[in-house]
């Protein structure tokens, strides 16, 4: 059970990826709330790939069960300049009040809403790999 999406940079195309999370998450028996959390994460990963990567975004989703704990695994790949993920710290509202830009929530949300997140990035390829277990509260 695998979905592969090649997405161009057009407005709202991130919702195609979110819809795939809904279909696969639903098929795996994931709760609506957990599906929605994974939707926010995939939307943010796609937006980053479109904004900072620039070209086509490749998204892969798979239901996996190797460790006996069923989960949805999501990969979002772009071929832009890359970045150092260690330099993107967790943000809070307190930090941005008074600042001109209120942006910069994507990675914070991805890391907090998913159960496991790995980012591998070098010039030419950034791969965000994240997983959400089917079961878990809430």
């Amino acid at each position: 059970m695998e979905v592969v999406l090649h997405l161009p940079v057009v407005p709202n195309v991130e919702l195609v990826a979110a819809k795939a999370v809904e279909a696969l998450g639903g098929a795996l028996g994931m709760s609506q709330t957990r599906v929605e959390a994974a939707c926010v994460a995939i939307v943010e990963a796609c937006l980053n790939a479109m904004e900072h990567g620039g070209g086509e975004v490749v998204v892969r989703l798979a239901g996996e069960n190797s460790s006996g704990r069923p989960r949805l695994v999501i990969e979002v790949e772009d071929h832009g300049g890359g970045f150092d993920p260690a330099k993107a710290p967790r943000k809070t509202v307190a930090q941005v009040l008074g600042c001109a830009s209120k942006r910069g929530w994507g990675l914070t949300l991805i890391r907090e809403l998913m159960d496991d997140v790995q980012i591998r990035s070098r010039p030419g390829q950034t791969l965000v790999r994240m997983c959400k277990y089917v079961e878990g509260g809430p």
Partner: protein, 122 residues
């Protein structure tokens, strides 16, 4: 289909409270539409804004950043921002951000209005 397009309503309630209901995808456009409605309500004298997100299931980080701009503008004028009818995931999103320290979250519109307008209403 067409959950992209956001559906908005804006009303002036009693006691200086403005109510915005927003249903749909809160991205840059959806966020901007909310910000426009908020600016309008503030001009019409609302110091407290209640944003009802019933019918909104997904909000992206750009939408979120626009909501923060609205909040900052309100705080500058000693006003107040409140939300109600959040999905568990949007609620969690606001918690992760630490937004809950600056804005009040109510379970539903009735509870919010009872508190903000200072009397039971529907």
């Amino acid at each position: 289909m067409n959950e992209e397009q956001i559906h908005l309503t804006a009303d002036v309630l009693t006691n200086g409270v403005g109510l915005i209901t927003a249903a749909g995808y809160i991205n840059n456009e959806g966020g901007q539409a909310i910000a426009d409605a908020a600016g309008d309500l503030m001009e019409r004298g609302c110091g407290t804004l209640l944003i009802d997100l019933e019918g909104t299931r997904i909000i992206n980080s750009i939408g979120v950043s626009i909501l923060l701009e609205i909040m900052e503008k309100l705080l500058e004028e000693k006003g107040r921002l409140a939300f109600c009818s959040l999905t568990p995931t949007i609620s969690k999103t606001f918690e992760i951000m630490g937004l809950v320290q600056y804005a009040t979250i109510y379970s539903d519109q009735q509870a919010a209005r009872a508190d903000l307008e200072g009397h039971a209403s529907g």
